[in-house]
Symmetry: C2
Subunit: 240 residues, 2 copies
């Protein structure tokens, strides 16, 4: 039996807030339990806000902004946060983020980021795996940092893990036998992504603003691996 | 609070088995509850087995089998089940299935399909949305049929919905305001895919063979939409 419990009552997170201190009274470490927190509250606590008025777009950003019909200052930030542009088209800018994750607009967020108007944006944490490890160390519970991603061939976003600590983000089943004794062909399961999506059901729609959830009843037989293990390297990218 | 309960004790599913009859004693319909079943037991009950010895690969399949290093008979079946080849490379054959879903090998499965040796394979249900609708009608509970898919830029599979009935596979948030009164930019959530992934946590790894799960505690405010609503049409496919 899996149970997913929303974590509420954290209040609005501000730069400098200690998320571990805020979460500690709401989290009881247990062997089968994972804490899932949204990228958004981690970014807020880490003060990853940028005021677009302070951004000077370069020539590349201006050109790309025209192709994508986006704010050139936003595009400048996306480029600064990314190692490669995967796809640019009207209203679409998909890049490989510095950390390797492929997503729209380098994960930069203009919604639910508190006061400051539409000119203040929120970047992803500097390194969500490092942020997850700090929370794991402080709270003694495995941690997933979740963000919502679109997908190339499917409508709608799902939650995925951009940071993880204390659990195996990827469970390798290579060579395991199935129940009939044949070798399994599907070999790796993205456990942290499935946990992120499951937690999304308890965190509800964006307007509810539930920033974290606790997933109970999990079990795994694999060594911990950060969310970086989920990143398929560029040379194996079949879709470029 | 979300609860995900594994459904066990169904035994090995055989062609002709009535899944609704088998599931009925294990499912109590409730307003906030969804039944998730694996594609595999639906395909077995619908006798979607094919013996590869009966398959004569054509010239296209033989050529594609060489490029992908796959069994030409399997490739023939993949092509028969698909409307387009998305990507072919050594050990990789990704197609758009007849139903629109993009996946490896048209979802044809050689593992955990019971006796018959490696030459017997299992195709997807003819139309998983129709199969889900039949279960929904018979059991009076919303139904998701789940399969595990790989992703282009991430390692590992996650569960997604290839069939759904009685719930909104896709929840449209276009125009909703976020808590700060700005219009949300992320507009659609793939609810059925998130439910499929959540259920995957309770169904565990392939060797355990848990074929279904019940997800309690869900809520939505949208009209039911089949899993076909999750299919992004080819003309919007940004990655071809």
């Amino acid at each position: 039996m899996i149970r997913i419990e929303p974590v509420t009552g954290l209040g609005e997170i501000a730069p400098g807030d200690d998320l571990a201190d805020l979460l500690r009274p709401r989290v009881a470490p247990a062997a089968d339990t994972v804490l899932v927190v949204t990228q958004k509250i981690v970014s807020k606590a880490e003060d990853r806000y940028v005021d677009l008025h302070t951004v000077r777009p370069g020539a590349t950003a201006i050109d790309l902004a025209e192709r994508t019909r986006k704010d050139p200052r936003l595009v400048e930030l996306v480029l600064a946060e990314s190692s490669a542009v995967v796809r640019a088209a009207p209203n679409v800018l998909i890049t490989r983020h510095r950390t390797g994750h492929v997503m729209a607009n380098a994960g930069i967020d203009q919604s639910n980021i508190g006061a400051g108007g539409n000119d203040r944006v929120l970047l992803l944490p500097l390194d969500a795996d490092t942020s997850a490890a700090a929370l794991h160390d402080a709270l003694g519970i495995p941690v997933v940092i979740a963000d919502s991603f679109g997908r190339p061939w499917r409508y709608g976003t799902v939650n995925v893990a951009i940071g993880a600590a204390g659990l195996p983000s990827l469970v390798d089943q290579r060579g395991d036998e199935d129940r009939d004794g044949r070798t399994l062909q599907v070999t790796q399961v993205a456990l942290a992504d499935m946990i992120a999506s499951a937690a999304g059901l308890a965190m509800g729609e964006a307007s509810e603003g539930i920033p974290a959830a606790i997933v109970h009843g999990l079990a795994w037989h694999a060594v911990p691996r950060a969310a970086s293990a989920l990143v398929r390297p560029l040379e194996e990218d079949l879709f470029r």
